[in-house]
Amino acid sequence: MISGYFITIFITIVIYAMLAHSLNIITGHAGQISLGHAAFFGIGAYTSAMLYSEAGFPFWISVPMAAAVAGIVGALLGIPCLRVRDDFLAITTMGINFVVEAIFLYIPFFGGAMGIGGINLPKWFGREMTKPEYFVLILVVFLLLLLLDRRMGRSWIGLAWASIREDEEAAGAMGVDVVRFKVLAFILGSAIAGLAGGFYAHFLTFIMPQNFGFGQSIVILSMVVFGGIGSRWGPIVGAVILGILPEVSRPIMEYRILIYGILLLGMMRFQPGGLLGPESILSKLFRRSVFRPGARGESQ
């Protein structure tokens, strides 16, 4: 029997992996930087929490609604973000995060600094789910999301995202509706973050605005960058490693952000593509056998 402590860590890591995966859709696949992803995590968590504990909806409705609301807000906030690129987009998304956190904090309707409590694990077969069962539930949902991601990656949508990430202007000249595909990435990424928020609220049973601040956004982004931005498994590996790290050694917890910062700097310097990025040491080891010397060489 696995102890409750480990189950708690496992659930946390799957939720982080889901978040890293969702940010990877926006930043990795479509190439749009976001420093405010925790806002959508928070919108999902608050939607689910309020529908459940205030309006009395069951988990099975409140969590899908969390994804839907986060997706809709993602679309609405995505539209102004379309007018800006690169560093301006980074600042705009950061601003969105601060505004969303402030709304949760200062509007009494959302419970203010006290947050919202009274959220429980879902019920099935007439009883409350156990934590291991809950872990299996979110793991299955996450695996389904990964299957969807693989499908998207092989579709024209994935190709359109790749072209936008590479060169927006050239993508437009090739018939890619840049606005539409960017908004699609924002909707999907935000909706999945919202879903993770719903799962998170029901697992923690109590949420506060601070859980969804700018720091949280940076943690998510660190996982994506650390593991390998744009690759399917990279962000998940990043979430697992950076998620386990503070648990392995408790003292690290206090310096978590500092260590993440150092790791990020180190990655940027030595492995800018991330652990599983196309040019990383690990990927090169995997590809050794098919690597042909002389096939590479920079020109122009």
Partner: protein
């Protein structure tokens, strides 16, 4: 038959008149040369036609339909392909994927069709034919960024052809190329023309322009100063003045 009809087209950036009342038409299977000194407004003209920014005044129509307010993706879906003065292939994608992006123009309008898989045999076959036409068949799986400039330019043409265009805008295809590379590219351009595709060609290399074009439009300071056959252009005093300055 007239493909593109541009009338009194103007563009101002702030107070600067980049393009000033330019009119011309171009037809199917015709290579129309567009020449002029640096800063004459040639690339601005291409950017207006391809919808990158809207004109300040004037009218443009393609196959009888106005394209005045269309966005780049709408213009390209109508059948106007383009290349860029400074090459812009999708650097980190391989040659095949670069061409596939443009091939997908028929699926992007429908979200449902966009969700379909890219790598299907008949699509790959058609894309492979385009790659072959551009002479890049040995580089199908090579990343665009490792290709030499001449190949990148051919890749841009292959990519534009995947749009099944009626009209192709080529912005200085021979710039920066060695003589042989340039000659090969010109051969490719001729083949494209022989299929009945209209071409607007911006070019600084006069030899190339005089060889390829039956008709040439000359721009200077945003305005059209001459239009005619290569012989007429060569002896036009306004053109000589624009390039060499006034005799004093």
């Amino acid at each position: 038959m007239t493909l593109l009809d541009v009338r009194a087209l103007s563009k101002e950036f702030g107070g600067l008149r980049a393009l000033d009342g330019v009119s011309f038409t171009s037809g199917e299977g015709e290579i129309l040369g567009i020449i002029g000194p640096n800063g004459a407004g040639k690339t601005t003209l291409f950017n207006l036609i391809s919808g990158i920014y809207p004109p300040s005044a004037g009218e443009m129509s393609f196959q009888g339909k106005s394209i005045l307010r269309l966005k780049p993706h709408q213009v390209s879906r109508l059948g106007i392909g383009r290349t860029f003065q400074i090459v812009r292939p999708f650097q980190n994608l391989d040659v095949e994927t670069n061409v596939l992006v443009a091939y997908g123009h028929r699926f992007y309008p429908s979200l449902w069709k966009s969700a379909g898989p890219v790598r299907q045999p008949q699509f790959l076959k058609e894309v492979q034919m385009l790659i072959q036409r551009a002479g890049l068949q040995s580089y199908t799986k090579h990343t665009a960024k490792i290709l030499p400039l001449g190949f990148k330019k051919r890749l841009e043409i292959a990519r534009a052809l995947a749009l099944r265009p009626r009209l192709l805008l080529l912005d200085e295809p021979s710039a920066g190329l060695r003589f042989e590379e340039s000659a090969q590219l010109m051969e490719l351009i001729r083949q494209v023309r022989d299929q009945g595709i209209g071409i607007l060609l911006i070019e600084h290399n006069m030899q190339v322009v005089m060889d390829l074009c039956k008709r040439i439009v000359v721009l200077d300071h945003g305005a059209k100063i001459a239009e005619g056959s290569p012989e007429e252009i060569r002896s036009n005093s306004l053109v000589i003045q624009a390039y060499l300055g006034k005799e004093t």
